[in-house]
Amino acid sequence: MSQATLAIRRISGHPGPVPGAGVERASQVCKLIDTTTCIGCKACEVACLEWNGYTFTDTVFNNSYQTMPETAWNYWNLIKFNEHETKDGGLMLLMRKDQCMHCADPGCLAACPADGAIVQYANGIVDFQQDHCIGCGYCMTGCPFDIPKFNPSTKKVFKCTLCSDRVSVGLEPACIKACPTGCLHFGTKDDMTDLAATRTQQLREHFGFENAGVYDPPGVGGTGVIYVLHDATNPEAYGGLPKNPRVPWVVRLWKGPAKWIGNLAMLGGILGVTLHYLRFGPKEVEANENDKNNQKDRKGAQP
């Protein structure tokens, strides 16, 4: 497993071509969450806390299985439980593991003003670098999924890293490792998309979920975490998964055209007053009326 993380170019004493040389695979990683096989055991929540070094915090009881209403700065992975009534009057307990979606076009990164505080690795993982975080919370404004969470004592923002530390050494994320039903999968984006499509087809053809589908929202360029849903036409039923998430247009405007319009306006102002000074110069008040007359004379002499 560990050798697989290093691609081999040449091999000593090896007859023939190097196995696998010249073969390229998409390096995008992806987590697939099949909500149809999740049993709500919360093993992923525990594994996430364990691997990332957090202890259990107080849970909040809200008459359901849910651990707390939403993720927290020290609780990055939370299963959202939703009781859902189907059209024919049946009851479904929808369970969706909520965490950072690792958008291809991340709103948090677009909004962040601090150099190097949010990075997107070539494998698609979006990661916060708390050393560079200034604690402004702009990422919370940029995110369409309500994921970045503020730690008031350190004034830094935290979220799921997709276990970038594990993935970089060829291991799957901790939540994947812990899942007992196989509802969590990890691999390349292409493989996970294929697997999701196959599962979706199964759900449609053999289980009667004719609206089954894959959640990989194009509004944020697709995500590094994708869901298989029983009913992809109603993602809101899964604990408020947005139907068509986008980076807020205010953030786009603020970090795009407004930046250049504002900068040009400020430069224009400085240029304007400079030109005014060069053309008209200062307003000087004459010491007395005689001086004033002299000034007028001078002005007349030098128009």
Binding site: P113, A114, I134, Y138, V250, W254, H276, E284, V285
Partner: protein, 225 residues
């Protein structure tokens, strides 16, 4: 025109050497509290505004430090703006003399001040600047509170975050425009203006030239022509 006049026009004194108090000590202290607080917010705010200016935050102790103090200095600025409102409000109301002056503003810009109608303590531009900064401070603080504690804004009210960003940026850019002109006019263009906000006094000639009605009011003199 003497050499000393050219070297230091701001020191121009009336023939009699008469100086008139234009800003009291508390006016001046408050102006500089506002000015320094604004400049701090400007430096740090520009750092948050653009990656090309993020280095500005290094000047004041780094990004996290800048983020910590920016709202507090903003409150100081807003507080002093309210203090100014309290003491200068009446002087800042636009009157008929200002409207006549505004019509003739092109002469002011061209330094043809002799063609301007007489005005009181502040001209129309100063009044516009005052109200721009006063209302700017209110909008900046209201939107700034949301940006200060975004984590306390519930997700269902997230439109408040978007609104706050829009208002904060717009108000900041508007005040920066006024600030550029204010600094230019106060230090370079209107000679005598800068010393007046440092030492509080202007020469009688300065008062007569720039604020004839105010000069007549505070000295009790009526000198036409």
């Amino acid at each position: 025109m003497s050499i000393s006049h050219v070297v230091s026009p701001a020191r121009t004194v009336d023939e009699s050497g008469e100086r008139i108090l234009r800003y009291t000590l508390s006016d001046r202290i408050n102006h500089w509290i506002a000015g320094l607080a604004y400049i701090y917010c400007l430096i740090t705010g520009l750092g948050f505004w653009s990656p090309y200016m993020f280095w500005l935050t290094i000047l004041v102790g780094g990004g996290p430090t800048a983020r910590f103090w920016h709202p507090w200095f903003g409150l100081v600025f807003c507080g002093s703006a309210f203090w100014m409102y309290k003491v200068w409000r009446n002087d800042m109301l636009t009157n008929d003399a200002d409207l006549a002056w505004r019509k003739a503003m092109k002469y002011y810009i061209r330094n043809e001040d002799e063609k301007l109608p007489p005005i009181d303590r502040f001209n129309y531009g100063q009044k516009a600047f005052f109200w721009l900064m006063f209302y700017g401070a209110i909008f900046l603080v209201l939107s700034g509170v949301v940006l200060w504690f975004p984590e306390l804004v519930p997700w269902s009210l997230r439109w408040l975050r978007y609104l706050a960003v829009t208002v904060h940026v717009t108000a900041a850019l508007a005040t920066i425009g006024g600030f550029i002109i204010h600094i230019y006019m106060g230090t370079a263009m209107v000679r005598g203006g800068f010393t007046s906000i440092i030492r509080g006094e202007v020469s009688a000639a300065w008062a007569k030239t720039h604020h004839r009605l105010w000069y007549e009011r505070v000295t009790g003199r009526r000198e036409r022509g």
